[in-house]
């Protein structure tokens, strides 16, 4: 059992939260009731955790100093600044939306 786990502080989209050191960022966010981890780059549709073991890339978000990471595999550290994945401008994606 994972007893005696340290509690650490981090922020998600500027909102202060706490979680356990070393647990995946996605687990800490789910425990805090946060399901939307990312907006689809083209459509902007909300996306959340899907496979939880690094296969699907759906939970990717941005961690200051690390860039875009899979939040289901990235351990939570004290003081992390986490931002949800953003919809990109159409000039960047270059694709016409229906």
């Amino acid at each position: 059992m994972k007893s005696n786990r340290d509690t650490v502080s981090f922020t998600f989209n500027g909102k202060p939260l706490t979680g356990y050191r070393g647990e995946p960022i996605a687990a800490a966010l789910l425990a805090a009731g946060i399901r939307t981890l990312r907006k689809h780059e083209e459509s902007g549709n909300p996306r959340g955790l899907y496979c939880a073991i690094g296969h699907c890339m759906e939970c990717r978000l941005s961690v200051q100093g690390k860039g875009i990471v899979r939040s289901c595999l990235t351990p939570l550290e004290d003081g992390m600044t986490v931002l949800e994945g953003q919809q990109l401008a159409n000039e960047i994606t270059g694709r016409k939306l229906p």
Binding site: R35, G48, L49, Y50, C51, I53, C56
Partner: protein, 410 residues
């Protein structure tokens, strides 16, 4: 500056039941072994598995802990949080490229396990919809419940086993229902087919997962003959309503799952008009089954073979776990979807094969490999969790093909 290469005798990709069993067996025979896995802790999917077996609980985490302890004592290097992104053979040595540098070894064992097949349903991109394995990992590995009340879409061994685990862990489930009909679900959307799947499983007595009580066995038995006799309200399996005459039509919500629209279906899996209703849930787990995760075998140039009984496309391999690519071996679910116990026996067999080929077993090599093959067969025959009834015959077919292709004339 030229990057530092870290060299060992054997690199194992995947720290699950197959990889860890192979590592300890290979280290036992004197090989230096490095195990690489991208999950933050070793153990693979065993970490979240547990079930009742002959009156006691089989707890995967405990088996994993024992294997990890053995490996550490033998000096096996287990590197977690490291992602392998490619591999290439240069001058008789494999160069395995990872997020944390390059490892080299004359032999590589791929024990990368399986990946999930989804069960697509309208609205399945909403946050709160996840694969059944994700619900298991969140609950049993990270100790975070996937939601307050959920629904499982898809009826198969994996769904039933994980449903039981979730219920034991205190996660509330509104039920297990059929997927919507259509080309993606195929037979999985037919009530009768699902009953046959379940009846088949309950005949694998003493199946701990599906040891039905008298009333339930009767209901399933009757339903097996005439699926329309299956109670429309469903039956309770442990405390989870199993609804084989109900299908999910759509998953609803604006920015997260709020409800699922359910409807009654006839024996052909068609929606009965007017039977639609909404079930309030805050998460949905999709269960479409597993397939061998073999990307690295493909990158390494290994040919594939299509074997539906074992989960689809898998790397061609011999009964000794060798692939046609020299120095490349496979073990565990990458060779076909079976239980953790079979994967562990396959890991030991792969290690025997690797040690024999490396020449460290002397004249005992062949005998040890043959013994290990026997052990895999024994474990497979007594496996309590069988993913498909045709596994032994499908395996024989693969090995025959191997012999015809690579051992002809030898």
């Amino acid at each position: 500056m030229k990057p530092k290469l870290q060299q060992t005798d054997l690199i194992i990709v995947g720290a699950g039941p197959a990889g860890l069993s192979a590592a300890t067996a290979a280290a036992d025979n004197g090989l230096s072994v490095t195990v690489i896995d991208e999950f933050p802790e070793p153990g693979g999917r065993m970490l979240g598995q547990f079930h009742e077996e002959q009156g006691h609980w089989w707890v995967g985490k405990r088996i994993a802990d024992e294997l990890i302890e053995k490996n550490r004592a033998q000096g096996v290097s287990i590197r977690c949080g490291v992602s392998v992104y490619g591999m290439l053979k240069v001058d008789q040595l494999w160069e395995v490229s990872t997020s944390h540098g390059t490892w080299t070894a004359p032999r590589v064992l791929l024990a990368t396990g399986a990946a999930e097949i989804p069960m697509p349903t309208c609205g399945w991109t909403l946050p709160g919809v996840m694969s059944i394995g994700a619900a298991q990992v969140m609950t049993n590995v990270h100790y975070v419940k996937p939601g307050k009340r959920g629904l499982i879409i898809g009826v198969n061994v994996l769904a039933m086993a994980i449903a039981r685990e979730l219920s034991v862990s205190g996660v509330m489930l509104a039920g297990i229902v059929l997927p919507p009909g259509g080309p993606l679900a195929g037979k999985a959307a037919l009530p009768r087919n699902n009953l046959q799947v379940l009846m088949g499983l309950s005949h694998l007595a003493p199946s701990p997962i599906l040891r039905f009580g008298g009333k339930i066995a009767y209901a399933l038995g009757m339903a097996g003959i005439v699926s329309s006799l299956f109670p429309r309200r469903g039956i309770k399996l442990w405390d989870i309503p199993l609804k084989l005459r109900t299908a999910a039509v759509s998953i609803n919500g604006t920015d997260r799952v709020e409800s699922v629209t359910l409807a009654d279906v006839n024996a052909k899996g068609e929606i009965i008009a007017g039977s639609e209703r909404e079930e309030a849930v805050d998460f949905v787990a999709l269960a479409g089954g597993l397939y061998p995760l073999a990307e690295l075998a493909s990158v390494a140039g290994c040919p594939f073979i299509y074997t539906p009984e074992l989960g689809g496309h898998l790397p061609l391999h011999s009964e000794r776990m060798q692939t046609p690519v020299e120095g490349l071996y496979v073990a565990g679910n990458i060779t076909g979807v079976e239980s953790a116990l079979v994967a562990m026996a396959q890991g030991q067999l792969a290690a025997a094969s690797i040690c024999s080929d490396a020449g460290v077993l002397g004249e005992d090599g062949d005998r040890k490999v043959v013994e290990a093959i026997g052990e895999v067969q024994r474990v497979r025959a007594s496996a309590l969790i069988q993913f498909h009834p045709g596994i032994p015959e499908a395996r024989r077919k693969i090995y025959r093909m191997w012999q015809q292709t690579y051992e002809a004339g030898v």
